[in-house]
Symmetry: C2
Subunit: 213 residues, 2 copies
DNA sequence: TAGATTGTTAATCGATTAACAATC
DNA sequence: TAGATTGTTAATCGATTAACAATC
C-alpha cells in the first residue's frame, strides 16, 4: 500500500493555515470558507481546498469549515498533538536560546536533555539536565530519542550528525553545514539562517532595481 | 524594462551551490562540470545549468565551470559582497545569540546596533551598542538602516514591524508571527522555527508508516 | 427549494528534465 | 580534429488554478 506523496510545499503551508485558524478561533469565529481563508492569506480558494484534500475531507458543502475542527485535523497531521522526545546538542548562545525559549510543546515535542563538550558551566539549561557529550550514547540507551537538535559549531556538525545515526529518527540542523552520510530513514530538516538572509538580500536588491525603472 | 522574475526555488538553491563550491575550492579543485555538481548535490545537471543561466553564462563549453569564478558570480548575485546595514530588535536569548554568533559578514551585512525595551542589562551586545527601543527613530534618522532583524516576543512583533516601515527596506522576521500590513516595497523573510520542526515531525511520522508496510 | 460552498475533475501554468546544436 | 560540456530549446512532469457537479 502506497500513500501518495504529498509535496513539501503543502506541508510547509499547513502551519500557516493553523496559525490563521488559531487567530480566527481567538476572535470567536466558528466557521470559515476556503474563499475567506484565501482572501486573508493571499492564496486561491482552489489551492486551499486542494491542500486540505490531500489529507481528507474536512469541510461541509454549502457551509465551509469549522474553524476549531479544521485546526485540530491539521494539527494532528503535523503531529502537534504527539509527544516526541528531543535532545539538544551544543549549548552555545543559539542552543541555549532554543532550549530556554522555544515552545516545543506547541509542536508536539518534549525537550528532554542537553549535551555539550563543556558542560561545566552548570548542571542545567533552563529546566533540562545538561550532560557531557561523551555520555550521549549511554543516555540514548536508557532514553529513546526521536529528534536531535544540532546546534554545535560548524566544524563539529557532520561528525556529530553521523554519531547520532544509531539512535535518532530526525535531525533538526541549525548548523550552516550540508549534512552528508545520513541514511534515508533519518529525516534531516535544515534551518540555514544564512540562506534566508541571502534571499532577503537578493530580493531587496531586486526591489531597488525595480524602483529605479 | 522588465527583468524576468526568477523563482524563489532558484534563489534558495544558490547558497547551496556556493557552499559546495567553497568546499571544492578548499580542496584545491579548480574546475567542475554541471554533471559533477549534480552528482554531489543530488540534482540533475540540467537543473543546475538552467539555474545558472537565469543570471548569465558562467561556464565554458567543453570545459565546465571555474570553481572560484563561479562562486564569485553567484556570491555577487546574492549580495554577499555588499555591505548592507542591519539592526537587531529584541535582545532576548535568541537576539543575543544571533548578534553574537551569526557571521553577518559572510552575507554582505553589517550589524550596527541593537535595541530593546530593557537595555539596562548592559551598554553593548557583543561588539555593538545597545539602545532603548524608544531611540530607534532618532537612530534611523542619523544612520541608514537596510535590514531590521526582528527577535522581539510574538505579541510585540506586528506593532514593531509596522513601526519599522518608514525606515527599513527588509525585515528578517524570527518571530512566530505572520506580519501584516507591511507594504510591497519592504521585503519580509521569515524564519519560522516551528514550521520547520513541524515538517520534521511530519516526515518522521511518514518514515515510520513506510517502515511498517 | 434556493443558495452556498465543498470535493474533485479538467485546464493551465511553471518548473524540471531531456535533448542537442554550438563551441571550446 | 575529436571529445567534452555548455547554453538553450523542446518535452515532460507536477503544482496551481479554474470549473462544475455533488450536496449540505
Amino acid at each position: 500500500m502506497k500513500t501518495k506523496k504529498i509535496s513539501d510545499n503543502v506541508i510547509k503551508r499547513l502551519p500557516k493555515y493553523i496559525r490563521y485558524l488559531e487567530t480566527l478561533a481567538s476572535l470567536g469565529v466558528t466557521r470559515v470558507s476556503s474563499d475567506e481563508i484565501g482572501e486573508q492569506m493571499g492564496l486561491t480558494a482552489s489551492q486551499i481546498r486542494q491542500d486540505f484534500n490531500c489529507f481528507g475531507s474536512f469541510g461541509q458543502q454549502g457551509y465551509g469549515y469549522n474553524v476549531v475542527e479544521l485546526r485540530a485535523k491539521l494539527a494532528d497531521i503535523l503531529g502537534m498533538t504527539g509527544s516526541r522526545s528531543a535532545i539538544i546538542i551544543g549549548v552555545g548562545n543559539l542552543g541555549r536560546a532554543i532550549a530556554k525559549n522555544f515552545s516545543f510543546g506547541n509542536c508536539g515535542v518534549i525537550l528532554k536533555a542537553a549535551f555539550d563538550i563543556h558542560p561545566s558551566e552548570g548542571k542545567n539549561v533552563g529546566k533540562i539536565p545538561l550532560y557531557n557529550i561523551n555520555e550521549i550514547e549511554a543516555y540514548a540507551k536508557e532514553n529513546p530519542v526521536d529528534i536531535a537538535i544540532l546546534t554545535v559549531p560548524s566544524p563539529a556538525a557532520n561528525d556529530m550528525a553521523v554519531r547520532l545515526i544509531p539512535f535518532v529518527k530526525g535531525i533538526w540542523n541549525f548548523t550552516n553545514v550540508e549534512l552528508n552520510g545520513i541514511p534515508e530513514n533519518i529525516v534531516v530538516e535544515d534551518v540555514h539562517f544564512s540562506d534566508s538572509l541571502l534571499a532577503l538580500n537578493y530580493y531587496m536588491t531586486q526591489n531597488e532595481l525595480e524602483e529605479k525603472n
